[in-house]
Symmetry: C2
Subunit: 759 residues, 2 copies
């Protein structure tokens, strides 16, 4: 096969032109980017490549920021809890926070903007019942002076003032606290250090390198500066073809502790979008004021695991509209200058949610994001309304992987094989890498492997491009967030492993490469438009009370009756973990009637439970291996305790340790399926596929573009007139391949092989 | 040692006089009882023994009952759930119930006494929106005729009527049901078969033996009959010394299914106490009417695992007062006849709760109950206000244990060794056995063993009798029920094993034989009288939302502040499982501040959790063995997932699988201790004791009347001037024994040995 070219982005760095040229040729790259901490050579333009340049819209301009600290970004923080032992209580609300990152905002009246909460009763303490002592601001906040930086803790910052007065420590003091109640202070701060730069700065010991101050483009001077600076920058950087916004205006919530370590991270967090101006504009528009508690939310800070309140939804919408409008102004400048605008999906991405209502209005040409596996690939590749998407693959060319004695190839293989499943369903338009090319070059085996990956990517893209693959089923993932958080459920920090989430995230990873049309549906969607007719199966998965399971949404009879009707009339429901969980009326799972199982809370121990016999065989577990004793070899991850079958019509697929972990149940013409958990694996991918086909009563239609061997997958592309058989493992595999008519033929595949056929 | 005599009750049976005499001598028995299905010989009076005779107060008199079926006992039952698919819904509410046990009560106006519930909304359906069709009663209910019995199901019962009319099946019909809502019918039934007799009848295939009909002594004729019959019976049974009531008036809830198998069992259930008369009297007294839902409670039927409602508490109090009053009438008859009155703690014991306010008013001489282990022994031996208590030990002399080829001794040893720990703290006054003596006689090894047991029991009793043993600590077990359910938390059916309870029941079992003064405290107790000054440690244990953990009681600031103050001022708190669990204010465990741990619900995943290091050693785990890899050999039973330490001051005793399972935390001058679970074992008994001493900050006082070897225990009896060292195992043990001054001496003990010393 002759060598192809294009669709690949290389990182480069100064003084590395020849090697860059060589790798460009080997990998077929047609774009060059800078990375965090690297600059491109001035003569990089001599290469036959588009130039991507990283652009920070709201940080990295301290010459501006230090003169406008009152336009610095803000956050609401909740102090630690303070227990009143007597009636007098002093709260050092900054305790545990990092004074170099955040500075309490005493500039705006704390009595108006702060809130003291009695966490024992859940009530706010009237402002008249507490006092702020020792309040002071470092110079630069509204006093017309220049900000000189802060030191450790607000107290020291106060000392550094040239004021002669000896200031008391900053505290919130109560004289009539209720003994043994816990109190917290919700207080506004200025965020004086960009979290990403702070992270890199501290991690890499950048010493006295200036702290980049994030400014808030909602404020007058900052908004103007952001536009004017970009306009000038575009003039100053004529070589840049693509402006890679990293990112726009508000960083996801990332707060450090007083030990200069991460204290709180929420990749979805709106923490940094807050400001007095925003709150005032919100009130003017919505006719009601948000309280600090609406943002602080018990210290949960409206984690995406929380069932969102109406107030928080309003606030998100308000921010999203603002961000989209402001970002559009910058993108228009880029376009006017004849360049393309690309957004990095991360860092200061809050308010740009690519599946949100306002994202298309930004007018971006492209989005690039980090690919950790199949689900994160689909998170990028499914983004609507852009000309192209790009996936940044692993590993980064950083010294933590590229060091002598380590082989970076296995990580690259795993990342590629995992993401490739998803690429086969909906490819990104480009792939790329990040970090130091000089490091990667020292590993010839790695360079060889990526050469193959780039070729294989272009082959896939060339064969299927924009054509829709065959989907045997349409699955709707139901949770509180729906479309807005497409492919993002169960995430905390982007793509990190959490004990509490892997059992559910496996569902998304499995779906990302499956022959299934996947849509994300919210409870609001059901209320407003019902369940779309073309949906075959609804998936509801998560821990009780979370936004993923749905919490009290399941007490809404409109939701319950809609889902019951859907299943009764022939639809499928697949519940994982604690689906539809919300105790009422004698049920913990509100759809226990549909699934035929419920979770024992202790209240029905008095009810005899006779239905404990595992079915000898079942469609769903047909591909599951058994150990010597005949026990099914299943992995439910964290699993779920105390699930029991309601009656004899519950088909028990797996029963052990006095619990059901897998079951199915007829409900009218449809079926409910229950799974205790689904961590990602090839085996569980098959289990989910079988569960969905069974739930949808389409068992007979499963073996279309299908591989008997669960380590392989078959993808049909009727529009492109092709199909592909993929070996998802590094071992050779034998399988029977079923075509679009369900006819099977045996086939052998080499390790990781993709084999293409014309229809 | 010379042979002793007394304090032992033997079962006997007709035609077995000589063998009875022989065993009486060998076991030193001084009382003879009949058993279920056995009658005593007429000449048993020739033996030198008191005669116990079983007496049924509200069943076993069908000659009366069949003529007064409208005085038959009643229950409220909840039908299965019916899903409305359209607007027309027919509910065969008796489906799944056993027509031979219960007959729907259409005699009292169903429109008034029944309730149709929309379980999807939690609302009652107005009576005008449903109709009862096919209503009919078997003859005998208020029609002046004699009851002839029922056959399978109400439909067939209807057919058996001599009425000419062809009756429609009995249904509740709705014409305006809401599609895909679930409905249930709460309906009154007559219970026409005593549950214990029904169980024995069906289990033993008693064929056409008449079904004993339970009558309700609240009703006029039945109340009178119960008294008059007993008066006559006492005249007719002059040989009886002790009337063994088995029991009084209302059986614990035991409902069979249409398959003639147990469907619902609640050893604490008030199901059978209901009647129209009771409900009317309740309304007259309390000024409000109970709804069927107050009794049916979503189908949970107010399981003791439910946080009790005010209505249900009122109802229990109402029933307890009635039962105590009526039982007193019978006991007075017994006393007037010069006999003693003993109550069996079981069967129809509802309303007699021995730790309740009204129990002493009954005036009983004795209580006898079944001993499954230490906690059930203390349940009997701690009963206040009776002259003596008796424990019925295991195994029963029934063919399921006493069959050829089986050795009943090991079960007897286990039962004895387990219960003996508790006897050492507070002995019952007598021990006894049940079943067929003729069976036991065939096992000479068993007869020998019980001879030793009886001797040992008398030795223990003789040494410590009524004297109070030394208690190093006072522990208060805190839950919704407090004293009323002393030693009864986590029970469903008396002493059966449940997966959901053994992890907590182990606490009671451990405490039952520990050198600790144990008290049971309710949330109401704290509200009304605070926490007693002499309490050292509060134990709160159970699954979230149950009456054992406390559910929303933990949202009451009065409770929270009382417990926090108690610990702050030096008290101890030991939480097991999900103590103080009720999500609010950013905490799942409301006492997370005290314990230093909380349970991750998914909402604080964004908060970094650095405190995961297990302490190298800790007072609490000092006696725990380690495996080869140094890992602590701990058994938390079902354990608890997702517990994390809040900060660096949480002392982590055990951390594995990304979770804390054992920890301690300072809080003011006191401490909180957390345990993920505590199934019963010698090792866990020690773990609990250490946890309590540590929580109470009394570590230095632990080694008083203490054994270094956790398989042994030391009990000091300052009042009796004695102490005892007990080997709780069937293996020889070496230990260091600490006396009342904390001086240790080494000692060797034989298998199961007790060694007594004078002070």
């Amino acid at each position: 096969m002759s060598k192809t070219r294009g669709r690949v982005t290389l990182p480069s760095e100064s003084g590395f032109l020849n090697k860059t040229r060589e790798l460009m040729e080997r990998w077929g790259a047609d774009a060059i980017r800078d990375s965090d901490g690297t600059k491109l050579d001035r003569d990089v333009k001599s290469l036959d490549a588009e130039i991507y340049t990283t652009y920070f819209a709201a940080r990295g301009h301290n010459e501006f920021a230090v003169k406008h600290m009152e336009e610095c970004q803000q956050l609401y923080l909740m102090s630690r809890r303070f227990t009143a032992v007597g009636n007098h209580l002093e709260m050092d609300f900054m305790e545990g926070y990092f004074g170099q990152q955040v500075v309490p905002d005493c500039y705006h009246d704390p009595k108006k903007w702060w809130e003291v909460m009695d966490r024992t009763t859940g009530q706010a303490v009237p402002a008249s019942r507490w006092e702020l002592t020792g309040a002071s601001m470092p110079e630069g906040f509204g006093d017309g002076r220049e900000f000189k930086g802060v030191f450790d803790g607000a107290g020291e910052a106060a000392e550094s003032n040239e004021s002669e007065a000896i200031t008391a420590p900053m505290r919130v003091v109560m004289e009539h606290a209720l003994p043994f109640h816990e109190y917290t202070v919700s207080f506004l701060v200025y965020a004086v250090w960009d979290p990403t730069q702070m992270y890199n700065h501290i991690t890499n010991n950048w010493g006295d390198k200036p702290h980049e101050i994030p400014f808030d483009v909602r404020q007058e001077a900052s908004g103007l500066f952001a536009r004017e600076y970009l306009a000038q920058w575009l003039k100053d950087n004529p070589d840049t073809d693509v402006v890679r916004f990293t990112t726009f205006f508000y960083h996801f919530t990332l707060v450090f502790g007083s030990d200069a370590k991460e204290k709180f991270v929420d990749w979805f967090g709106y923490g940094a979008t807050v400001s007095v101006k925003a709150l005032e504009e919100f009130r003017a528009e919505y006719g009601y004021a948000l309280r600090p508690e609406d943002i602080v939310d018990n210290g949960y800070y409206n984690s995406s695991f929380r069932v969102p309140t109406r107030h928080y939804r309003d606030y998100m919408d308000f921010i999203q509209r603002f961000v989209a409008g402001k970002a559009r102004e910058l993108v228009e400048l880029v376009h006017k200058a004849g360049r393309k605008a690309m957004m990095f999906l991360g860092d200061s991405w809050i308010g740009t949610e690519p599946y949100g209502a306002y994202f298309p209005k930004i007018g971006l040409d492209a989005v690039v994001g980090s690919v950790g596996g199949g689900a994160t690939l689909r998170l990028i590749s499914d983004i609507p309304g852009v000309s192209y998407t790009e996936g940044r693959f692993l590993p980064y060319f950083f010294p933590d992987t590229f060091y002598e004695g380590n082989d970076p190839v296995p990580e690259a293989v795993e990342n590629w094989i995992c993401a490739r499943r998803a690429l086969m369903r909906k490819p990104v338009d480009r792939i790329g890498y990040g970090g130091y090319l000089s490091l990667a070059c020292r590993f010839p085996g790695f360079v060889d492997y990526i050469e193959k990956v780039a070729e294989e990517f272009r082959e896939i893209y060339g064969n299927i491009g924009g054509s829709r693959p065959f989907c045997g089923l349409k699955a709707a993932v139901l949770n509180c967030w729906g479309k807005l958080r497409s492919w993002q459920p169960y995430m905390v920090a982007h793509a990190l492993w959490y004990k509490q989430t892997y059992t559910y995230f496996g569902i998304l990873e499995a779906l990302s490469g499956a022959g299934v049309d996947v849509t994300f549906m919210s409870f609001d969607d059901i209320r407003s438009s019902g369940i779309p007719e073309d949906v075959d199966v609804i998936i509801n998965a998560g821990d009780a009370g979370t936004a993923w399971s749905g919490g009290d949404e399941w007490l809404d009879e409109q939701i319950l009756t809609a889902v019951r009707r859907f299943v009764w009339e022939g639809g499928g429901f697949v519940g994982v973990g604690e689906p539809s969980a919300a105790e009422r009326g004698g049920r913990y799972f509100q759809l226990a009637d549909v699934m035929g199982v419920d979770k024992e809370q202790g209240f029905t121990l008095s009810t005899d439970k006779y239905h404990t016999k595992q079915a000898d065989s079942h469609f769903i577990t047909q591909d599951v291996l058994r150990d010597e004793s005949g026990r099914l070899d299943l992995d439910f991850g964290e699993g779920m305790k105390n699930i029991y079958a309601l009656g004899a019509d519950t088909e028990i697929g797996e029963f052990s340790d006095h619990e059901v972990h897998l079951s199915a149940h007829p409900y009218g013409r449809g079926r409910g399926v229950y799974l205790a958990g689904l961590p990602y694996s090839h085996e569980n991918t098959r289990l989910l596929i079988r569960s969905m086909y069974y739930a949808a009563s389409k068992e007979k239609e499963m073996k279309i573009w299908f591989s008997d061997n669960l380590y392989c997958e078959v993808h049909g592309y009727p529009e492109a007139g092709k199909y592909a058989v993929v070996n998802n493992t590094s071992r050779a595999q034998s399988t029977v391949v079923y075509d679009g008519d369900g006819h099977g033929v045996p086939m052998e595949l080499g390790p990781c092989e993709i084999r293409w056929f014309d229809l």
